[in-house]
Symmetry: C3
Subunit: 295 residues, 3 copies
């Protein structure tokens, strides 16, 4: 039988999960700086299973960037990988033929953009074949806080779903499989890069807290459906704007390249699994746990 | 060639379709009681074709539950199947680690929840692998009427779309095929459990009537797109709230685990097919007929 | 290896792309007439690659029809193909068993409908198996301008995404492959019928202009996700109604059979690729370019 990452998965708890908590703003001034470095790295995609990835800053996903609407983001993009790469921010409005141009190994690219639009946005490499660059891990999240704030949240998490398409490289290491990427037949689907990690290291909250979920889908291919078991989305902000919120929603569709902001408020202590409700996605890794303690 | 349920389908009209009409409220008081019993049963998935299913109350889908916002739902869940099972209501806000816990064969579980949120919600078994339990038929619908009513409807139907993944058990009987469930390659896609049934036993309405469609997707895997041929959704309530309605929509996407409420008003007598507009889904069974007679 | 349309693709620039610009209204009076003729034709699905298609008026997609809300559309449908066909307008509210009935080769069908609802709608053949008729190219777009206008646009484009499922007919010619249609495994995904055509013949606009995108998905099977690289949707009209607009959206999901209206305003000159952000779709042809020049 074919060696898949889940056949190599050791089933033990991960010792450290990728950070999911929304980090602080990059800065409070009119502009913030961010440096993203393309590097090839081996990452963990399930406990005990590695993948020879192409990354931003050495992790998959890359770092979560947090800015506020109206700030200028000064980007420095450095290519320390082994092939040409580029960077595309869904939060930006810039000419891709200029700002998102592909640079050679060793080169640096600088550009700035104004974060005009609030919301949850992916960034990713846009060098052809984009399917391969994204399939190999070149994506991350930028959160733009609205100038008119949403209702204040007590705790905020960022979850970026994506797919892994693999072939066996040897031992416990996988490589990308472009034929599977083209066919759309993933071997894993994960939140923040690694299968099942938040079952082992649960996200946490307390009863009565407003938990804000920034949920995005890097694909590269699939449409997902986000649901928190035992809970209801008190608000869904399809465009990050409180005036357009839906209320009382159980499950929300998120296409590849899309992001959405959703709020939950748990009333009972306990463990609440969050899933891509496409059950094969959950089975292949797109599931975690929010552990809710007493207020 | 492989034996599939549609290769066994006898093509004759089904004599009795699964009920699609929204049933009355379970009760009008402050609380209602519901008993759901997990049982293994052979069900019909196309005329002349059976499936060895895991069910709630002996049918796939399980019974439609109809309550109103603000009622307390007292649930009794009994496991008379052959393996551990559980029950998860998308309408509820409860700690899954308590209310949705898996019980052994022969056991009974009781819990209550307040129907805080209006809308159309799935319920389903949540025992791992959920993909297998849902793939084998363990799902149903609960409708929660809003405290502030939607515009009154003249006739209301509930349609739960789902997929069947099969292997031949012998004769005209199929079993579930977990490898197909994992691969996301269904052999049938159906409304309310059985292919083509509402072409044979059409739903009915009259011209000028407001027909309310509660349409849900149990998956377990696919995103669907609901459309009524020859008609327009006068209103789409993405979250069951009239204040957030869209108007004049032809086709609406419904992810796995999601439900939506939609209204049509036909002006001409005739037959109106309703479909999952993913045409392979329609071809594999996700199509029925609304027969509209004169006012 | 199997011969696919992209293995036959010559990689040269297409000399003439299918028209994407929204054509003028069919008329300004109370009623407009339209004639659609089913004909079998060989069409180009990638440069140097042909497909033996079933069409409306000899092209895939068929002509873009542009009317305004409140107009009566008088349809004449002629079957000059080699098998029975029919015509189904998502913009219409008519009894399908009458207006959308299948007619034999050589026959003509006439019916009228009132364009009651504004928006972007597909039309298509509805003769069983619809999957095959749509898979072979029988679809097009009708745009219904709202009586209460949207904010005025400076330039308007119509993009209909669809899938091609193929087997080799010989030389550079492909036929439809019904087994692939049923399996949902396309060989190409395209805007307006032909892979990559708008990379070779870009759509155009100027900085500061409001560009209106009417984007639809004919499927026959897949859910898509529309995104314009380097840009943001200033407005998304999910139902064609300005009162229900979302603002500041990066990516929007469009199910098979669905259409949506979206606006962008580019501030910088340059090339902006538009894509189905499911990256395998982009790789298989669902990508083009908007070339933005100075104001
Ligand atoms: Cu790259
Ligand atoms: Cu992108
Ligand atoms: Cu079970
Ligand atoms: Cu669920
Ligand atoms: Cu036809
Ligand atoms: Cu249609
Ligand atoms: Na690990
Ligand atoms: Na709701
Ligand atoms: Na039967
Ligand atoms: Na509309
Ligand atoms: Na050509
Ligand atoms: Na926004
Ligand atoms: Zn890790
Ligand atoms: Zn890259
Ligand atoms: Zn609401
Ligand atoms: Zn039945
Ligand atoms: Zn179960
Ligand atoms: Zn509207
Ligand atoms: Zn052409
Ligand atoms: Zn046709
Ligand atoms: Zn907004």
């Amino acid at each position: 039988a074919a060696v898949t990452p889940l056949s190599l998965y050791n089933g033990l708890p991960v010792q450290q999960a990728h950070p999911a908590r929304l980090p602080p703003l990059l800065g409070t001034g009119d502009s913030v700086g961010v440096t993203l470095i393309a590097t090839d790295t081996t990452v963990e995609i399930a406990n005990g299973v590695q993948y020879n990835a192409w990354t931003f800053n050495g992790t998959v996903p890359g770092p979560v960037l947090h800015v506020r609407q109206g700030q200028t983001v000064n980007v420095t993009f450095v290519n320390r990988g082994h092939m040409p790469h580029s960077i595309d921010f869904h939060a930006a409005e810039v000419a891709p033929s200029v700002a998102y141009r592909t640079i050679a190994v060793g080169e640096t690219l600088q550009f700035s953009f104004l974060a005009r639009t609030a919301g949850a946005f992916v960034y990713h490499c846009g060098t052809p074949p984009v399917l391969l660059h994204m399939g190999n891990g070149m994506y991350g999240v930028i959160i733009v806080d609205p100038a008119t704030p949403l209702p204040p949240a007590d705790v905020s998490y960022v979850l970026l779903e994506s797919e892994w398409y693999t072939q066996h490289a040897g031992g416990t290491v996988m490589n990308g499989d472009y034929a599977k990427m083209l066919a759309g037949t993933p071997d894993e689907m994960v939140f923040n890069g690694e299968a099942f990690q938040y079952n082992d290291q649960p996200l946490t909250a307390r009863t009565g807290q407003r938990v804000r979920w920034y949920v995005l889908n890097a694909g590269p291919n699939r449409t997902s459906a986000f649901h928190v078991i035992g809970s209801m989305f008190a608000a869904v902000y399809p465009d990050g704007d409180a005036a357009h919120a839906l209320t009382g929603v159980s499950t929300y569709v998120i296409g590849p390249g899309q992001g959405v902001v959703l709020d939950t408020i748990m009333r009972e202590s306990g463990d609440y699994p969050f899933v891509d409700h496409s059950m094969r996605a959950m089975t292949m890794g797109a599931v975690g746990t929010l552990r809710v303690g007493p207020a």
